[in-house]
Symmetry: C2
């Protein structure tokens, strides 16, 4: 089974209050993005990595890869004006329609080897494999000026990797004329009409979007060392 990973890191978001986009901030003295990429290059599986970057930050990445002596060959794709476009650009770099592809947030550096392996296995078997965790809190859905309780046991918080048969996710992206309203790849597949298979992610597999998230990631890594 041919395995690829698209690491989506095209954002220039600076919700962190820093000037640097968050994927380039340091976590344990190494950029978050490098942790994320190494989660895929540092395991026994042979995985072709496609890194989606804003053209403005390509040089920044090359400097990081030199500074940290990153030796793996990866493919760079241009980020688009939305996550949808960025992933589509990444998919275009996969020439063969065989195999499976994991689409993963550049700012989820703590993804485990097990989650990556599980996602490839399950996507190979079922077509799709979406990492997700249960909701710990009660959940409400806003409805006009009020809100209603949702049954928490039926709610899942969706993470990445979101892994797919390459042919299936390429078809799904080709069928969506616009990326409007898609917050992730599972919703593109759902819109295409294909079944979504969830599997167990991990509460550690957080998306780093705020200074608190970075603090949490630092704490997890400190414990592991």
């Amino acid at each position: 089974m041919k395995k690829s990973a698209i690491i989506v890191a095209a954002g220039s978001g600076t919700r962190m209050g820093a000037k640097t986009p968050k994927q380039f901030l340091n976590l344990h003295k190494k950029p978050i993005l490098l942790h994320t990429i190494e989660a895929f290059t540092g395991i026994p599986e042979q995985i072709s990595v496609i890194l989606v970057l804003s053209p403005d930050y390509k040089d920044h990445w090359y400097e990081i890869s030199r500074r940290f002596d990153f030796q793996h060959t990866i493919t760079i794709a241009d980020g688009g004006s939305s996550r949808f476009e960025s992933v589509r650009n990444g998919l275009q770099k996969i020439e063969s329609s065989d195999g499976v592809v994991a689409i993963h947030d550049g700012v989820r550096p703590l993804v485990s080897h097990k989650i990556i392996s599980d996602s490839f296995e399950l996507a190979h078997e079922k077509g799709s494999a979406i990492a997700a965790v249960p909701a710990k809190d009660s959940i409400r859905q806003i409805d006009g000026s009020s809100s209603i309780t949702l049954d928490r046991t039926r709610i899942r918080l969706v993470q990445t990797p979101q892994t797919f048969k390459v042919s299936l996710i390429k078809d799904a992206y080709a069928s969506a004329s616009t990326g409007k309203g898609f917050t992730d790849d599972a919703s593109v597949l759902e819109h295409y009409g294909a079944p979504i298979h969830l599997f167990d992610g991990s509460f550690e597999n957080i998306k780093i979007t705020t200074p608190d998230d970075l603090l949490f990631a630092e704490a997890i890594l400190s414990r592991k060392k």
Copy 2:
């Protein structure tokens, strides 16, 4: 405005892998529960605290309050066999129907002074005030063997405090013959038919239920000091 707080700490849950229920585990060398109680007793507002404890752990609490020289007078209520029963027992300790009451998880020690004050103000004005935060992740709802995307912008993850006019929440609890299916107090009020007012909680105001949560809380407290 008379202000009370019911701190719900009746669980004997040990999902943490420890023998001690999680509210008694140490966070920065002090039991989580004591941090939580002091969030309400350590601010300028005059708040009557009602602590709901399993009868089996009352002595444990008395020992903690001696050891840490906890000087405030609080009321103890017996925990029930469900969260619903525990809160109902706590409400019975409030004699007057005037005023407002904040119902708060014993394992949310990082609640801020601002959130507590906001919740009292808003509940006084609107009848209810439920701390909640937006969802950072995409959300799916399980539907049989499949699942569907929910509009993330309409989803809120519910925290505590959940603060109410005393008369309103007492009526809501009295009208619910059974606590089945209620995961929080807002859902009891919703079942009663009263409007639910959400306000901004905080991502720091976490519920400590796993070792990772404890690690995160330690990191937040270390940063603050």
